[in-house]
Amino acid sequence: MIKNNLRVERAIKRISQAQLAEAIGVSRQTIFAIENEKFVPSTELALRMSAYFGKPVNEFFWLEDKEK
């Protein structure tokens, strides 16, 4: 199970789901589904998020059974 703290990262950057969605080229419902762990994004999308937040992917996605 892959967990994430996308909501926190978004709050730090003070952007809405819609703004993040627009920036990385997906719909708002996709960001909602990722934040609520209904959907695990592809590597491509995770890398686009990483570039947008300026942080490595493993800082906002991690495996549940491992320490972040």
């Binding site: 080229g25 719909s27 909602f32 934040e35 609520n36 592809s42 686009r48």
Partner: protein, 164 residues
């Protein structure tokens, strides 16, 4: 780094879906007209004119309905959503997996029921079973279920996202 929402793997762009809803309405109207003509044609009338004497319009509509139905389902199933991305594709795949699973289960039940009904029940029961099972595994019905299921799933996600 704004990027456009990607159309992942869908054959047709979203505008074809709108065309599909219009052709669905057209095929439904055509089907109703055909049904009215069919009901108005009594057995006596058919016996009098013979199968070759069937109205040209009825023959034309009889061909038009399946063509329109196929065309409509192709447009609706194969065109992308307004905002098609990998999450919508994930929802699509989930629905297709469930429908394939359902199809195998219903087919298995049907085969078993036909096998036992053929040996234990009167022959008329086979016709009744056939009437019940044919629509359950029909590709047109399953395609339509797929479209409606996808629309409902996306609507529910959008609604949840709006509440968030």
């Amino acid at each position: 780094m704004a990027t456009k929402t990607k159309n992942i793997g869908m054959i047709l762009p979203h505008r074809f879906q709108t065309v599909g809803w219009w052709t669905l309405a057209a095929s439904a109207i055509t089907f109703i007209i055909l049904l009215i003509i069919d009901l108005a044609t009594t057995q006596e009338k058919l016996a009098a004119i013979g199968i070759n004497g069937v109205d040209v319009w009825e023959g034309f509509l009889g061909i038009l309905v399946p063509i329109l139905a196929n065309f409509t389902l192709f447009l609706l199933c194969m065109s992308s959503e307004k905002e098609e991305d990998e999450f919508v594709m994930h929802v699509r795949m989930g629905i297709i997996k469930r429908l394939v699973c359902y199809w195998f289960i219903v087919e298995l039940i049907e085969v078993l029921l036909f096998f036992f009904a053929g040996r234990l029940l009167p022959i008329s029961s086979i016709s009744i079973l056939s009437l019940i099972f044919r629509p359950l595994t029909n590709i047109y019905v399953l395609s339509f279920v797929y479209i409606i299921w996808l629309k409902i799933s996306l609507y529910r996600i959008r609604k949840e996202a709006a509440r968030d």
